[in-house]
Symmetry: C2
Subunit: 120 residues, 2 copies
């Protein structure tokens, strides 16, 4: 059945980029989305090898599109989420939600000075 292996951080970010980019998701735009919105530097080779890996696992699927009439506008390899990809993305999110649930340090309440925990 579906491989239960957890997603690495980059795998999560790539899947999330796919979810946002919709029809415009290919190597370069995926990388840009992660770097701009995620503020997370990532190598282009890392993005591609990650995509290839996830395609083999059935989390994403790809197809070639026609060249576009612009400089360097060669045919692109586009990607989209599969149902399994969406599911494992949601599971990764739920896992983190469970781990965060009830913790005193919450992202919205922490400025830069996190309160030290007291002894119970």
């Amino acid at each position: 059945m579906t491989n239960e292996r957890a997603l690495s951080e980059i795998e999560q970010l790539v899947l999330l980029a796919l979810a946002r980019l919709n029809d415009d998701a290919y190597g370069v735009t995926i990388r840009r989305e992660i770097e701009v919105r995620g503020r997370r530097p990532v190598s282009i080779a890392g993005v591609y090898s990650c995509l290839e890996r996830m395609e083999q696992r059935g989390l994403v699927e790809s197809w070639l599109t026609e060249p576009t009439p612009e400089r360097g506008g060669r045919a692109k390899k586009h990607f989209r989420l599969t149902a399994a990809g969406v599911e494992s993305l949601v599971q990764a999110r739920q896992r983190l939600d469970r781990m965060w649930a009830g913790l005193r340090i919450a992202p919205e309440t922490v400025p830069a000075t996190a309160r030290r925990s007291r002894r119970p």
Copy 2:
């Protein structure tokens, strides 16, 4: 800018386990927390090497505690978050929040098992 390296998934989970376990955080309990709450199998060697790595980066700190009067209760190496650890944890969370923001696939709307914790 982002001179700090991003956290891997396991690094995040270990830091979150530390945040919850407070004074009771050491190799075995950290692993258990991740496996039970995170439902994420992780090797014990992975936990320790992750901890060592993060200690060198200043994200956690450790100290040895006294043996306890129970079978196998040898001295344990306890860990706690540093301020830098809290900060990078929060940044990792905020990064994912930004990536998730506004996506139509939301954890609470997708599969049947999604249920927010009751906590007003």
